[in-house]
Amino acid sequence: MPHSTLTLFEKIWRQHLVVTTGDLDLLWIDRHFVHEGSFHAFDKLNSSKREIAHPELTFGIADHYVPSDLAKLDDDPEIAGMIHLLDENTRRHQLTYFGLGHDDRGIVHVSAPELGLTLPGLIIVCGDSHTTTHGAFGALAMGIGATEVAHVLATQTLWQRRPKTMQIHLEGHLAKDVTAKDLALHIIYEIGTDGATHHAVEYTGAAVRAMSMDARMTLCNMTIEAGARVGMIAPDETTIHWLHRAPRAPKGKAWKQAELYWRSLYSDPGAEYDRSIIIDVSDVAPRVTWGTNPEQSVPIDTGVVPELDNGHSTLSYMALSPGQPLLDLPIDQVFIGSCTNSRISDLRAVAAILAGGKVKVPTLIVAGSNHIKVQAEAEGLEAVFRAAGANWGESGCSMCVAMNGDRVEPGKRCASTSNRNFPGRQGPGARTHLMSPAMAAAAALHGRLVDVRQLTGNSV
């Protein structure tokens, strides 16, 4: 293939290629984020008495275990211990660390972009599968395992098999009250939860260009739920505008040089992908999941549980029957947050629905970062949430992964803006229905799943 026709993915991959053995490429890593769960990797490093090769490119952030109520931190010594372990490891290796109480702390996939640590053209890794999120900026961002984390810490490089490329071309315009979350659920429904395995996905098309950075992050975030380790979008004016106000993005001369490079980061006309699919987004409706993986979703207005055998393990876990509509399904609680949907635009959408109403079920709203939390409070969103009877938590992963003490009790049904409805994800026996922030807010007001368009008055 001539050099003049490369995909965005190929451009970044080649730029970072240190050596190749044929099957495997050794890549230079520009950014590495570690969190509480990285302790296995620190153990490997410490036990072999190795140092971190590039502490200036490595950032620590506490997110997975941060309690929604910080006053309860010491209620569970194991949870507090995980944060203290990260405190220790980051101090020992002299990393920049966003720990408890730091203004810049939040969910790694929310805070890093907001700080400008996430930049186009970088290779970014983190021991968390939702690292795909950073691809929204035109970075090549991958989730990795603990042994790989240790390898990056020790060498600032990573051996990778080059994935195939897959273009998901999104035409048309999203209808009112239909969000990037609905679109992500639609794509995963279309291609399956393994539909992009072994591939690096690039999203292209008018629908992508029209998206805000928040929406792009939601879309790229959910790419792992279709099996792809990488989901990316070429940088454009929207991206550049965001980076201009990001505090740790390059400044002055460095900015000029960076911007010039960023503007070269797109798939060349005629560049070939191993696979391409086209999706018209115009007909996508607000969606909810009914099952135990993210491909099992339906449009809220017409969707029913599929005709599986009664007693099918998914249906018995979810306590649903074949043919049952999702609309009006009673729920027990609501969670609004996670690296998928906890950004300021998500919270504004929630406030718009909750304003003046009262929630009928326990509702927990958790901002993605401390900066977003402060902003939401300054904008009066928090006041709306509290007036509606919702709880407002400390920023972090919270009830998405149920490691911080927040969880859905066995058999309870939760409307959630998170990314995974796997059995036990939000707690043993928890029943999760994934949806957009506005849909979750609407469910909170009614105590059952409703079509948000009925509340906003937009036509169904």
Binding site: L24, G145, H151, D194, G227, H371, G424
Partner: protein, 209 residues
Amino acid sequence: MKPVSQVTSPALLLLDDNIDTDQIIPARFLRKPRSSGYHHYLFYDARYDMDGNERANSPISSSAPHQSIVLAGHNIGCGSSREGAVYAFTDFGVQVIISTKIADIFRSNAIRNGLLPIQLEQDMFNILVAHCNDQQAQLTVDLERCEILWAEDHHLNFNIDEESRHQLLYGIDDIQATLAWSQHIETFKHHYLVDHPWVVPITGISSKN
């Protein structure tokens, strides 16, 4: 890392599709030290009820013989990147996992921890499942020859890239192996950072709310 070369064992059948890593090891166990033995947490919520009693329909029977080979449904290991999912299998004594599709991050973690991932076509996979439905039946997986053998005279060949095969056969510590490339890394870094000085982030700033 324990090398893998030849494994002979009955197979554990985990035939549901899309078994995610949250099911393989629920998140609340990921804070446990590795020394506690991650086999305790393997499929914990499917094995035990809320009171800690073994479920009648547990995917892993405590009375079954020791199984070092797993036949798993399509897309095993999807979801979270938690390496604890691989630790749970390897601490349980599993050395080989065979499926029609293995999720990317799980596969990568497996190779780095002495768990051989084998991807087969559906028809071949079905033959192995049919054979292993008999609990006494055994499979032999030979990584030297990239062969699976069963019922005395049956065999098939599987594909695995040479790098992964080598790493598994010799139990290679990948950091040690990479340090052999240190000079290449240094040279690359020098040129790369000269050409792209902006990639080094601004540090030492304290942002205000």
